[in-house]
Symmetry: C2
Subunit: 422 residues, 2 copies
Amino acid sequence: MKSQGDSCSQQEVSSYSRSVFSGKNVSAMDRWVACKLMQLIGNPALRLKLWNNEELMSPQKAVGTLHFHDRGSLYRVITNPDLHFGDLYSAGRISIGGNLVASMEEVYRSMQQVSKSSLIAQVITAWQKRPRTNSLNGSLNNIHHHYDLGNEFYELWLDKEAMQYTCAYYPDVEASLEEAQIAKMHHVSRKLQLKPGDAVVEAGCGWGGLARFMAKHYGVTVRSYNISKEQVAYARNKAREQGLDSQIEYIEDDYRNISGEYDAFVSVGMLEHVGQQQFKGLGGVIDKCLKSNGRGLVHSIGRNSPRLMNAWIEKRIFPGAYPPSIKEMMDIFEPYDLSVLDVENMRLHYAKTLEHWLQRFDENDKKISQRFDENFTRAWRLYLAGSIAAFTTGELQLFQIVFSRQENNQIAWTRSHLYTQD
Amino acid sequence: MKSQGDSCSQQEVSSYSRSVFSGKNVSAMDRWVACKLMQLIGNPALRLKLWNNEELMSPQKAVGTLHFHDRGSLYRVITNPDLHFGDLYSAGRISIGGNLVASMEEVYRSMQQVSKSSLIAQVITAWQKRPRTNSLNGSLNNIHHHYDLGNEFYELWLDKEAMQYTCAYYPDVEASLEEAQIAKMHHVSRKLQLKPGDAVVEAGCGWGGLARFMAKHYGVTVRSYNISKEQVAYARNKAREQGLDSQIEYIEDDYRNISGEYDAFVSVGMLEHVGQQQFKGLGGVIDKCLKSNGRGLVHSIGRNSPRLMNAWIEKRIFPGAYPPSIKEMMDIFEPYDLSVLDVENMRLHYAKTLEHWLQRFDENDKKISQRFDENFTRAWRLYLAGSIAAFTTGELQLFQIVFSRQENNQIAWTRSHLYTQD
């Protein structure tokens, strides 16, 4: 347990008086609850400020200030920190002074130190049992929520090259976002050993940038499935503009309805939305559509061990999202004897990608607040900053998994071709 | 179902006569049983020859001849093909004419085509339920069986450089066995990001070659655990000869007794002997001994999906051996939030390694038969050839898994350093 500049004590609790429970006043009970909250999350090195501007904790190496702007926000967070913190932050009832990313990292690191039998762990575990579904209709609603916010919104802060809303790959840590997204698409294409004339099927194509890239640079034909109407319309338009519409077919349909046979299967950033119960079904889709010498790649946010997505992100930002562990992801491959050839963990690349996104988001925050509102902007800032912290602290991983059929011996002899080509 | 030059028919079965069941004669029943056996394993493209030299099947594209030298061998194989085939081949009662590896590959490929609900699949499944243990004492007996055959035996066909009885890494497909074993040890050392002064712990060190290589080329200190007395004696002697004994401590003890804290954990070719029930325990050993910025590597034979080792190999060659699937291997890492950074499947490299071993083994088969006997030589030839076939047909995989603690951000930014260093 870290030593803290802690002004709470049991004495204060015993001096608790019911009369001050309402209003702007801060009671001993309020102080005790606030300190207890910090203790439950492992006493992160954050200053703690209450609604009367009283600073309750001032740890020496504090990286930021957690400020509760009213009593209700403190008590609501206590009942369900995982969900309510995000909502209250978005509403401006909680704020974080200082560096938001560093403060979130500090919270993640301190929570990792807390014993798994602690109250907070139990609260989170209870929440993890909440039911979710990814039926065909459920998926549609979930995806609309996030991806149909308007292409213009994402254009403000994603890369200008291919609108990739997935982890980039930085061959050099100093690469720009555009360079890193191009490098990611090459990395994926090389891992798939694409050659001219190959037929590729893509499950979940976003704004279609990867399909256009593969068609243009690797001479393949691509059928890309996506259930977001707005994204598919955007993708088709772009392909027409770039004269690639004869090579690419964007299909507004669920990945479960993929038909045909292909040399390569690719899915970048869809698995998070598939739902763990559907993994075996996804494997069946792959097994049905992959030729005997076919190769595949699945790129997904993941975990070191099974745990649900943060409740607030799952409820407000990414409905139905679940980042699986490798063990869970194997339910896609093992039932069909698909052979896993390569797994690469790129979590620090996702932290870097998110830093670039957050920087552009902040540069455009006025526009975004005008288009939506302040609450929306705060929510998305928290989501982007919190995600950076989750990747830098190892709460989240990014796995790229390459696979083939068991009997395919046309696989790459080594991985050196990923690092030596232009 | 492949078309076959099949001389069996139901008519012949009905002409079965009890009187010819013994002796050199071949009855219609014998023919039916022999053909049924081939059918059960998916009708591989092999000629089938009986004890009277009658050729029963002559498929056009036959890659070899399966020869039963007596009636008993045919009927014993039927009762438990997984176990008895190896024993009868070793005893010279079954032989394979033509290319042994190609014939074994043909059998593996045809068996992969057979429905999982077939009789042979059921027989194998039943065998897969056989109980095995890897208690501390059990492990000791299992390891003696295989590794204490005498260092001279292994010296006849393993690499001269470091006596590596594990998969080599061929940066170039034309590399020699010695070059490939050196490349493997560099590959492992680079994946572990070893630097001078690092403390390394090794679980299962064979004849200690990797420990000496790391100490010599990467300036680290190594504590290597192995329960084979003969191997440890050999390893200590070699380290003394090479002036490396101040950097390396070979410990004749079980990996479960590892003590101390280390910058790197490495285990090459031990996991196959650990037993799946012990994986979580192995993870606990790693979790206990790895420093916060520590890295680890586990290198093991594996499977695309859970299935036991071939019964004969498990009983006669490698007692207690089990090649796990990736899903099973995750029981080492996930309970401790160890972060999997990289998985590389090198199955074709193991096929190549085994080809080199088999070639040297065949060059020394007279010496080996003199030291042991003909049965031993046949058994080991079958084991080596069958293993080549298992890797080329995707029955077996070779996984190298790199991991670190969740919070370690000193991990390699990309994997390019594995391919660009000298």
